[in-house]
């Protein structure tokens, strides 16, 4: 890893981009080979892999938005990472296309014959139909792409001369952006994940997906910075204090995620209405019980218990391991949201990991990270003209 501390640049970023894009291309190629024989499995695995990186990118976008809206100081050192990842939505739209092609394989409500004999789905049909679904998704991606692109562009423009007008523009767009963000993320999570069980509904679902998104992005930053710092890059502006801040933030959002997940579960548990409890029942049967229990402990109880201590946030090994654990658990979270909802009655989905889960994951990850590294061939790793950037001599 070659790092120029004067210009804050990763001079061999292109090499990492090439490696990541190659892995991504291989992963996608093998997955497409899998699609020819097991189309259903391909679409499921793809939706999970796509959902994983889409939600992390959504978290990245939120990080930049909230930074500008609140005029934050301490998040400045990590801002370029969020801007670079949050500018990847055009690629994610391309990666979303297989979901549109697999609509009939994934979404129960997309079958006209099913809707015709189902009163609930008939009533929901004006919203849940293939055309409107596609239009909505295009709207989400347009909004996120524009926000991500503008925030990235204003920031890199600011790098050139340090003219504060670019930061003012970012603040303005972020004020509108947070509102649009909240609406689009809520409906995107309804469309892509919640509508897999079209009878079931939960109004807090969007917040739950958002909580997981932002948490997983925080773990992404932590892991990325740790990788950079351990190889001598970013060391002039990322120190133990920045890592400590990320540890605090991860701790906070572990609680937030569990709070929202708990709020959803407890209300449904109390109400005990069959059409609502079915969603949790499908996650307690056919091998999903173990996954649900793993979620409770490894996505909340264990990280919460350990990160509560000052020492764990400042210790590199503990903090990095927990960030890695939570990063993996976010994949499990999306998997847990998607997989049990596919299939009904005697066709209920059993917990059975497939090899395509791995190849689609590698494919999507490689492409997203490849584009992420390509950003750093032209941009610095930090907003170097920002007066709030803390540089250590």
């Amino acid at each position: 890893m070659k790092y120029d501390a004067k210009t804050f640049r990763l001079t061999d970023s292109g090499k990492f981009a090439t490696v990541a894009l190659s892995i991504g291309a291989i992963g996608v190629a093998i997955s497409i080979y899998g699609w020819t024989s097991h189309a259903d499995q391909f679409f499921r695995s793809w939706l999970v892999a796509f959902g994983f990186w889409a939600t992390i990118s959504i978290g990245a976008l939120f990080y930049t938005l909230i930074h500008h809206v609140t005029g934050s100081v301490k998040s400045t050192n990590m801002r370029r990472i969020s801007e670079a990842l949050g500018n990847g939505f055009p690629l994610l739209f391309i990666l979303f296309l297989p979901v549109l092609f697999g609509l009939h394989s994934l979404y129960h409500w997309s079958h006209a014959d099913v809707v015709a004999v189902d009163n609930i789905l008939k009533w929901k049909a004006p919203y849940l139909n293939a055309t409107f679904f596609t239009i909505r998704s295009i709207i989400y991606f347009t909004i996120w792409s524009v926000l991500g692109y503008l925030l990235y562009r204003y920031s890199t423009k600011h790098d050139e001369g340090g003219d504060p007008k670019w930061l003012n523009k970012s603040s303005k767009i972020s004020a509108i952006g947070t509102l649009l963000f909240a609406i689009t993320v809520t409906f995107a999570s309804f469309d892509w994940f919640m509508s897999l069980s079209p009878h079931w509904y939960s109004t807090i679902y969007g917040v739950y997906v958002f909580g997981g998104s932002f948490l997983s992005f925080l773990t992404f930053i932590t892991l990325f910075m740790q990788w950079m710092v351990s190889r001598g890059a970013m060391t002039n502006f990322i120190t133990i204090d920045q890592f400590h801040d990320m540890g605090r933030w991860i701790f906070g959002f572990v609680v937030f995620w569990a709070y929202i997940g708990g709020a959803q579960y407890f209300l449904i548990w109390y109400g005990n209405l069959p059409e609502e409890t079915i969603w949790y029942l499908t996650r307690w049967e056919n091998g999903w019980k173990d996954v649900s229990i793993i979620m409770m402990f490894f996505h909340f109880v264990i990280p919460f218990g350990i990160l509560a201590f000052y020492y764990s946030k400042r210790n590199t090994i503990i903090r990095t391991s927990l960030a890695a654990l939570l990063f993996v658990m976010h994949y499990v979270d999306i998997y847990w949201l998607v997989m049990p909802s596919i299939g009904h009655g005697e066709h209920a989905a059993h917990f059975s990991p497939a090899w395509m889960d791995l190849t689609t994951f590698l494919g999507v990850s490689g492409l997203v990270l490849g584009v992420f590294f390509l950003r750093f061939t032209s941009a610095a790793l930090a907003p170097l003209k920002d007066k709030n950037l803390t540089v250590y001599e």
Binding site: G262, Y265, F266, W269, Y270, N272, A308, F309, Y310
Partner: protein
């Protein structure tokens, strides 16, 4: 009859105050304090202040609160009044979470406030430094070090000389009832 309660010395700027804080720490003073109009970065290290134990106090009390919350509800709905409510088992942890969480927060918050006051030695309605008129500058442009007479290393003459040697100006003996 007035007693000697401590000594007060003024310093010119944050740098000399920080330097003095290090000297006092090295000389073994325990109940000395630095007063400045704004927080000075690095002062905690210079004074040799350790990390506050408040986190552990809050943690212990919060866990006690959670245990209390679970315990009360377990006793009420399993031991004392085992009624079947809406077909749920006697021990339904889901129903206990909210009150458990509430008591976790409540005792944690009480511990944080009361523990903070206790560790800071508050509430305290007077302090020897308030006997000094010159001390009024602390909220404007004055930088002070005070040493209280209950410090084991306190000796009125030696401490006075020490304050002078580290650059203290306007050294005052704090006297009061």
């Amino acid at each position: 009859m007035n007693k000697t309660l401590g000594l007060l010395a003024e310093f010119e700027n944050p740098a000399t105050l920080m330097n003095a804080a290090e000297k006092f720490r090295e000389a073994g003073y325990k109940t000395f304090d630095c007063h400045s109009p704004f927080p000075i970065h690095g002062m905690d290290e210079a004074m040799g202040l350790k990390r506050s134990p408040i986190g552990y106090i809050v943690g212990a009390m919060a866990v006690t609160g959670a245990a209390l919350g679970i315990g009360i509800q377990y006793y009420a709905s399993v031991v004392a009044y085992p009624h079947i409510i809406s077909g749920k088992p006697f021990f339904s942890w889901q129903a206990y979470v909210i009150i458990t969480f509430a008591l976790f927060i409540l005792l944690g918050a009480f511990a944080a406030v009361i523990g903070m006051l206790k560790i800071n030695g508050l509430p305290r309605f007077y302090h020897p430094v308030f006997y000094s008129d010159n001390f009024k500058k602390f909220s404007d442009d004055g930088f002070f070090v005070s040493v209280e007479s209950d410090d084991p290393a306190f000796d009125i003459d030696k401490t006075k000389a020490f304050m002078d040697s580290v650059g203290g100006k306007n050294i005052e003996v704090l006297e009061g009832e």
